[in-house]
């Protein structure tokens, strides 16, 4: 028996280790030079700038193609391909001066390239997919000469300098306009571009490789390249960072982030991000589309006192401390505080804090009185029970839902969470088939698109938020859109934010920080956005990647992975053992027969 056991163990170990042993020495070596290797967990949908919509894909496109103007580290619009611009007194005609710069293949960049790109998006349906919305308000885009671009808008457009449209080279794309919507932009390498890096390789589902662009107009980046490496989950990515397989990881969980503390080679970056998390309250019932209510929202939510009561029941500080473990800040506005010009903080008398007693009082006032079991019963005799729709693709939603159930229970409101795939949850939200729902958006430096989403015209569309509709808000929206004077526009936006807050169009819960970490033994010099305490990845710019600076000649961290060598040695020993085992086994079979 012991012999059988020994053999069993031997064989098992041999099979495992023989495979591992030799392989242990095979370690990752990135393609030549100091390449910044970044772990990404999101998929790449396409690298074609006319099609790509996923965050990772648009991030890669930012590195490949310049915009007319771009958001700087301080989030203000900065010159990019346009070195200067001016608006005519009619507020509709904009003239851009295009700078003298070259594509990565050496050909000059001209206003005609810009006009070509914009006109494709405006006129070619196949090119509209990614950025069609950004040019909706454009009447015409023309290049009057190589250096001058004239854009005429239909309505005055305060946000024109934040139109994030990648400009492509006409001499490459002109011959391919008939299949512009189906190109993956990985047909031939290198892909001619104008950004700090040039796309040189793509392996579906595995990696994207970019090399420094020698003819970049701001000057060649200090890193020799950027490589995005696909990981299925952040656990694996964090391990990769520890081992030195990658140099930068983003969007870790608080537990993972905390576990990286104390590693001398790793620097953590807790970046204030341009996102917000919100609890939607269904407005579709009171507001409707063209006056007609839609969806099946609970009518109790029509009453602003009920919405305010629910807000008072939520302990946002507990969300920050318990769920986000301090890596977050309480939110009040759909414009995150990383945009100080546009964000909003309610006045002390206006602010609604965590106060269950006040919540109960408000519910009493609205006619929802506590029954004998403590549950609130409405004037119609029905208990106040709400549904919470939540998407499963945000991991913290589950925890957040647990807390909401507890808090609402404290004020006598029954909350039933249902979890759906992101697609089904989105459907429920845009159709108005929910009472409460978790949502969240990334916000661009110009507040216009985010503010636009709260107008009546967005109701029952995919971009609809809570189904909010208030004519006064819509009036203010139109006013700010046409207001080219920034301080005046700021004042209007503030009024809009205040209105949203008082109406409780939703409860903005938190602005979560983006948890990033990088190998500071390999790269430093990352410029964050905003410059103070901002993020390295996920910017509306390329500052993080562009300024990454390799640490002097500290060759690759690989090469000396002790575990790999140990595994190799053990593997070799076991392989020998396996050979010996079979030799011995051959001899022994005669003795077996006597058993």
């Amino acid at each position: 028996m012991s012999r059988g056991l020994r053999r069993l163990a031997c064989l098992f170990a041999a099979m495992v280790m023989a495979l591992a042993g030799g392989a242990g020495t095979a370690l990752a070596q990135p393609p030549g030079g100091a390449v910044l290797r970044v772990a990404v967990t999101q998929e790449i949908d396409s690298l074609n700038p006319f099609v790509a919509v996923f965050l990772t894909s648009t991030q890669v496109n930012r590195l490949m193609y310049e915009y007319l103007t771009t958001a700087g580290p301080d989030n203000s619009a900065q010159p990019a391909l346009a070195e200067s611009w001016q608006a005519a007194p009619d507020k509709l005609t904009w003239t851009f001066r295009i700078r003298e710069a070259n594509w990565s293949d050496g050909k000059p960049i001209t206003a005609k390239d810009v006009a070509f790109t914009y006109n494709q998006i405006m006129t070619n349906d196949a090119a509209k997919e990614a950025n069609g919305g950004a040019v909706e308000n454009y009447a015409s885009v023309t290049a009057t000469d190589d250096r001058t671009l004239v854009i005429v808008t239909k309505q005055p457009m305060a946000s024109i300098l934040n139109s994030e449209i990648p400009i492509v080279p006409e001499h490459i794309w002109a011959s391919q306009v008939d299949r512009i919507g189906t190109l993956t932009n990985t047909e031939t390498f290198p892909v001619v571009g104008s950004g700090p890096y040039v796309l040189t390789g793509y392996q579906e589902g595995q990696s994207v490789t970019l090399q420094a662009n020698d003819s970049y107009w701001r000057g060649r980046p200090k890193a020799d390249g950027v490589q995005l490496v696909k990981y299925e989950n952040t656990d694996a990515a964090v391990q990769g960072l520890r081992k030195g397989d990658i140099d930068l990881v983003r969007d870790t969980t608080p537990a993972q982030f905390d576990s990286l503390a104390g590693d001398p080679n790793i620097t953590r970056n807790e970046g204030r991000n341009r996102r917000f998390t919100e609890l939607l309250m269904n407005w579709s019932n009171p507001s409707g589309v063209d006056g007609k209510p839609f969806g099946d929202g609970n009518p109790a939510l029509k009453d602003v006192r009920v919405r305010r009561a629910l807000h008072h029941a939520i302990d946002v500080n507990a969300v920050v401390e318990r769920i986000k473990q301090g890596h977050s800040e309480p939110g009040y506005s759909i414009i995150p505080p990383v945009y100080p010009d546009w964000t909003f903080t309610p006045a002390p008398g206006q602010r609604r804090d965590f106060d269950p007693e006040k919540a109960k009082a408000l519910l009493d006032e609205a006619g929802y009185r506590a029954g004998p079991d403590g549950k609130r019963v409405g004037p119609d005799g029905k208990p106040l029970a709400l549904r919470l729709v939540s998407s499963t693709d945000v991991a913290t939603n589950r925890q957040l839902a647990d807390f909401m159930v507890g808090w609402f229970n404290q004020i006598g409101v029954t909350l039933t969470p249902t979890f759906k795939s992101s697609n089904q949850a989105d459907d429920d939200m845009s159709a108005g088939n929910f009472d409460l729902a978790f949502s969240g958006w990334s916000v661009n430096p110009d507040p216009d698109p985010m503010l636009h989403q709260q107008t009546c015209s967005y109701n029952a569309t995919a971009q609809s938020d809570s189904g909010y509709c208030n004519p006064e808000y819509d009036r203010l929206y139109a006013a700010q859109q046409a207001e080219l004077d920034k301080p005046k526009r700021q004042e209007i936006v503030k009024q809009m934010n205040s209105l949203l807050y008082d109406d409780v169009h939703a409860v903005v819960l938190t602005h979560d920080r983006l948890l990033e970490a990088y190998r500071s033994d390999r790269f430093t010099g990352f410029v964050t956005q905003p410059a103070e305490g901002g993020v390295i990845t996920g910017q509306t710019g390329y500052w993080g990647y562009y300024n990454a600076t390799p640490v002097a000649t500290q060759a690759n961290t690989g090469g000396g992975n002790p575990a790999g060598i140990i595994a190799a040695v053990i593997g070799g020993v076991i392989v020998l053992g396996l050979v010996a085992f079979f030799v011995v086994r051959g001899r022994r079979s005669s003795s077996d027969e006597r058993e």
Partner: protein, 295 residues
């Protein structure tokens, strides 16, 4: 009088059954494990209060290692992993048993009908059975749970309708064997309809075997439940061993090295599934002593 004789006969049969079962040491062990789990699951509400499970009243830190206050540490919301594991048994067992019942009902029905009627209905049913038998049932269950509304009911349906094929095969074979016996023919000659033959004669004869098979199936149903939950198809609002493991992975417990969050639900699954498997094996031997030689 006759009633008491019948009763007496049943009592001795039960005693014989218990004695044979008791001879199976591993079967007894399985029974003990299952019994203990069942007691714990049923009595859980007596010593675990809603406050222990509510995140807003939780007092522990985030992913705290085991301590006197929290024998198995805490989860990402500061709740006791021990309390969660105990409460998780309820949903896991419920889903496992319910899915198995569904599967066994479908399987027995298909098997009995296929054997009893023969001809083309049998051919169609067995074709369908073969189809479901070879299909990767997890993939099918994944698709079903994606299509239907999320929740415990969906998981039960998804597991139930994808795992009945082996029961159907088994029941069909057994039914064929039983219907070949003379007394069935006699019953048919005496004018017993299909329902009579199947309900009065075939079903009671098939039932013991189905029972043993059921016990074995519960184990794989519990594993399927946890797997679907791990793939994100469970109902995150309810605590089961599967959703606990999903939550552990999502919160980064692997990287943080929080083994106390990963081990208890997993070990609980292994123990219960093993318990069902051992019981099922023991039952088979009791029902079919010839098998003992092969064990």
């Amino acid at each position: 009088m006759t009633a008491s004789i019948a009763w007496e006969r049943r009592r001795t049969a039960a005693a014989r059954f218990a004695r044979t079962y008791a001879e199976q040491r591993s079967g007894l062990a399985g029974l003990v494990v299952l019994g203990a789990t069942l007691v714990v699951a049923l009595t859980a509400p007596l010593y675990i209060t809603a406050d222990d499970l509510s995140v807003i009243t939780a007092t522990g830190g985030v992913l705290e290692p085991p301590s006197a206050a929290y024998p198995l540490g805490t989860d990402e919301s500061g709740r006791s992993v021990l309390a969660l594991t105990i409460m998780g048994s309820r949903i896991s067992l419920l889903v496992g048993v319910a899915a198995t019942l569904l599967s066994v009902v479908i399987g027995s029905l298909v098997g009995m009908l296929a054997a009893h009627f023969g001809g083309w209905p049998s051919a169609i049913l067995m074709r369908l059975t073969d189809f479901f038998l070879v299909l990767p049932s997890l993939v099918l269950a994944i698709v079903l749970s994606t299509v239907l509304q999320r929740g415990a009911f969906t998981i039960i349906v998804a597991i139930g309708v994808t795992s009945w094929a082996s029961t159907a095969r088994l029941v069909r074979a057994q039914t064929l064997a039983i219907e070949a016996r003379p007394y069935i023919e006699r019953a048919q000659v005496l004018g017993g309809g299909h329902a009579h033959v199947l309900g009065k004669h075939v079903l009671p004869a098939v039932l013991p075997l189905v029972l043993a098979n059921t016990t074995l199936t519960v184990g794989s149903a519990i594993i399927s439940e946890s797997t679907l939950a791990f793939l994100g198809l469970g109902d995150p609002a309810s605590v089961s061993w599967g959703t606990m493991l999903k939550a552990a992975v999502d919160s980064g417990a692997i990287t943080a090295g929080a083994w106390w969050y990963l081990l208890p639900p997993g070990i609980a699954i292994v123990a219960v599934v093993l318990g069902f498997t051992l019981c099922g094996r023991a039952l088979e031997i009791v029902l079919n002593p010839a098998l003992a030689a092969r064990r």
